[in-house]
């Protein structure tokens, strides 16, 4: 049994509850335990860093300190939470002054971060820690014939964390192949969804969403798979708005990779939070057929 300190992040509390549910169900199937970080706080999203960087990293450090106290590596399903927490931890480890200053603030909550844990995105847990072979052994309902557009988005791959391939990553495609689906050649798989521009610069964000949906449709995808609640919200909840604003006719389901994984493991759709989406995922369900 692998155990992690789990940092769901604000979106997964409600807006992206289906990501949380499907993450819990699928990790449970592969012997991974996600222990929620007790009393976690917001990671600061992108907006906090617009105002004050030091305070933003202090917020990040509080979650890290609690996760460290629990004794496990931290895992975040949201790409923005992941990026902020990953770099917060890295900066605290390499900069003694920063670490002293922030730990002084953490004393107010009787906490201290010494930098002994790693920070991972939920997808890394599946692909790197558990491994595709192990996952494959749990696939009872392969999604044969399902054309998936694997949408990486931004912060799961950027900025560069180590020596990973930021221009041509393959891990998402590999995971989708493992569940029996066909990852399509999705030109815009690394392009930005607009993030919080959907609020601050609506016109720009909607045009990014339109381009992404168009790219997935060009590649003849049945579904777009995401690994981030903000990507999912922009592509899905604003799909109808895009149709109204640009006169398009998109109707493509946007699902979390954990939901597709769950279907291929034979988990009931309801337990994966399927049914709360704007663009129905019903036709995707028919691909999950039991192996004979």
């Amino acid at each position: 049994m692998r155990t992690y300190s789990y940092f769901p992040g604000c979106s997964l509390e409600k807006m992206a509850m289906s990501y949380h549910q499907s993450a819990m169900q699928t990790t449970n199937k592969i012997g991974v335990e996600l222990k929620e970080i007790e009393d976690w706080n917001c990671c600061g999203a992108t907006t906090y860093f617009h105002v004050d960087e030091l305070l933003a990293y202090t917020l990040v450090a509080r979650n890290l300190a609690i996760a460290e106290k629990m004794g496990h590596d931290l895992v975040a399903p949201c790409s923005a939470c992941y990026k902020n927490t990953y770099f917060g931890s890295a900066y605290l480890k390499e900069d003694q002054d920063l670490s002293d200053h922030i730990n002084y603030a953490l004393e107010a909550d009787n906490l201290h971060y010494s930098g002994s844990i790693e920070v991972k995105h939920l997808m890394e847990v599946f692909v790197d820690d558990v491994g595709l072979e192990e996952i494959k052994s749990k696939i009872t309902h392969p999604l044969e014939g399902l054309r998936v557009a694997p949408y990486y988005g931004c912060q799961i791959v950027r900025p560069r964390k180590d020596h990973e391939d930021v221009e041509n990553p393959q891990f998402f495609e590999d995971l989708m192949s493992t569940v029996g689906a066909d990852p399509v050649d999705f030109t815009y798989r690394l392009r930005c969804c607009g993030g919080s521009l959907i609020i601050t610069s609506r016109e720009a964000a909607l045009s990014l969403v339109r381009d992404l949906l168009q790219s997935a449709v060009y590649s003849d995808a049945d579904v777009i798979a995401t690994a981030c609640p903000l990507c999912q919200t922009n592509l899905e909840c604003y799909q109808m708005t895009v149709n109204r604003e640009f006169g398009t006719d998109f109707s493509i389901p946007i699902m979390y990779f954990t939901q597709l994984l769950g279907l291929s493991m034979g988990l009931p759709p309801k337990k994966l939070g399927i049914g709360t989406e704007f663009v129905s995922a019903d036709r995707i369900l028919t691909f999950a057929k039991e192996k004979v």
Partner: protein
Amino acid sequence: MATKPSFSEEVSNLMHASHGNPLKTCVQCGTCSGTCPVAEFMDHTPRCLIGMINANLKEEVLESNTFWYCASCFHCTVRCPKEIDIAGLMYSLKRYSIWKHTYPEGAIGPVFSETFVKSILRSGRSYEPVLAPTYIFSYGVREFLNEAHTATNLMLKGRLPVLPPRIKRLENFKKMANKIIPMGGA
């Protein structure tokens, strides 16, 4: 005798936490502008803005909408052949313009950011409904109706929180923030 730092030096100082190379190493190749997915909406492309900073065109830079269009996708940062953290630069300029209050009246970006921060410091977690007033009034009728439609759908699907979330050790959390930035009675 003390000398006043130039604008380009000021911006470089603001980027002290960024791990990229100094802005003055920019060779104006334009890879950032070619990569940026929202460059077409900006009044100056990222390449142009860096050139303007290096030329100390302070007023023009601060009047620009470029950095408020940056969605932090970091594509420019990973592609820059001189390894300048361009997305980090955009963050620095956002902080500078909030700090000096140089952003235009009615701009959504800075007001949204400040409201977001205040709301987190009040409760420890983010809560979408308190953020809506920061932008909804700037919308036209059609945008407003579209937004209302999206919100209604979210509500019907049970995806909008009814009550604001709140962390348990909120008092400690506020004290912690106060040790970084003393905020009077906060």
